[in-house]
Amino acid sequence: MNKENLIKYILGIADNSLILGQRLGELTGHGPSLEVDIALTNISLDLFGQVRSYFQYAAQISEEEKTEDDFAFLRTEREYVNVLLVEQTNKDFAYVIGRQFLFDHFHFLLLNELQKSKDETLVAIAKKSLKEVSYHKRFSSDWVKRLGDGTEESKQKMQTAINDLWRFTEELFETTEADQEAIEAGIGVNVTALKDTYLANVSEVLTEATLEKPELQFFQSGGKKGIHSEQMGYLLSDMQFMQRTYPGMKW
């Protein structure tokens, strides 16, 4: 497949981790307890580590002179192709956990399949990331069960978060043009085929958490095409501030 589309395909995976990592990073020092604060920011760092591998690979195959920082910090909002789910705000702890839970189960299935890609670099990144994401999935699923099967208040908050975030789940299984080309080339994962397993796995946890799986007819998408929700602009201005103010700045 051509390089430009391969880069697009890589960004389609990487941007989800980047934006979710940024959201979790916002919680540094604000977690509900010291232990959970560290756990959430650990997850954020895992995701950023994965993102760096993807962006370094994209920079390497790019024909322009680009670095990982260009991909992370110097694109415009419309050029980010993360799903809407991961850019949703940290409204309360149940939303943080709900967003994480709905994403982790998808992320796990995606990486699992990506291990079979014909692209060796992507296989290597997937293998390394899968262990991290297995733990993320365990962490967020445990918390969904804890809050769902907890007190009356925690149950209600967890259910509200799941209900609200559910409308972003359908987008996870949509394919872009770059996705389709990558699938045909044996490089990409056909995410549409993951949907049934995803719903079964998520439902299993929700049942154990004594929560209801929402029955929705209407879903929202657009992130994969670069059409984001309002809060994305605020996230980017925060995230891009240093590189925009001090171009080329390094640690």
Binding site: I38, A39, N42, R146
Partner: protein, 97 residues
């Protein structure tokens, strides 16, 4: 009462840093139950590759010595240096002790 916020109970964390070594006390943390304690311990104490195995035990299960009794507990050992093997001179004939 100061505990009105219903804090999670305190747990003590023991980490084995390498296979073959013993578990050592690393610190403590709060968690609602043993599963959460284990996950929290993993995140708080082994994020820099510090361990290969974790034990957690709720702090209330630890019986600690009373500092007020340190005199009778520990001071009698102070003048009994002969309890250290290094106190004794070994004959040269005994090699590799």
């Amino acid at each position: 009462m100061a505990d009105k916020k219903k804090n999670w109970p305190l747990w003590e964390v023991f980490v084995r840093s390498k296979n073959g070594l013993e578990h050592r006390h690393f610190g403590s943390l709060h968690a609602a139950d043993e599963d959460m304690a284990l996950e929290n311990a993993r995140d708080v104490y082994t994020r820099r590759k510090e361990g290969v195995s974790i034990w957690v035990v709720e702090s209330k299960h630890i019986k600690a010595s009373n500092p007020d009794e340190n005199g009778e507990m520990f001071e009698p050992a102070e003048d009994k240096v002969y309890r250290h093997p290094t106190f004794y001179d070994l004959p040269d004939e005994v090699k590799h002790m």
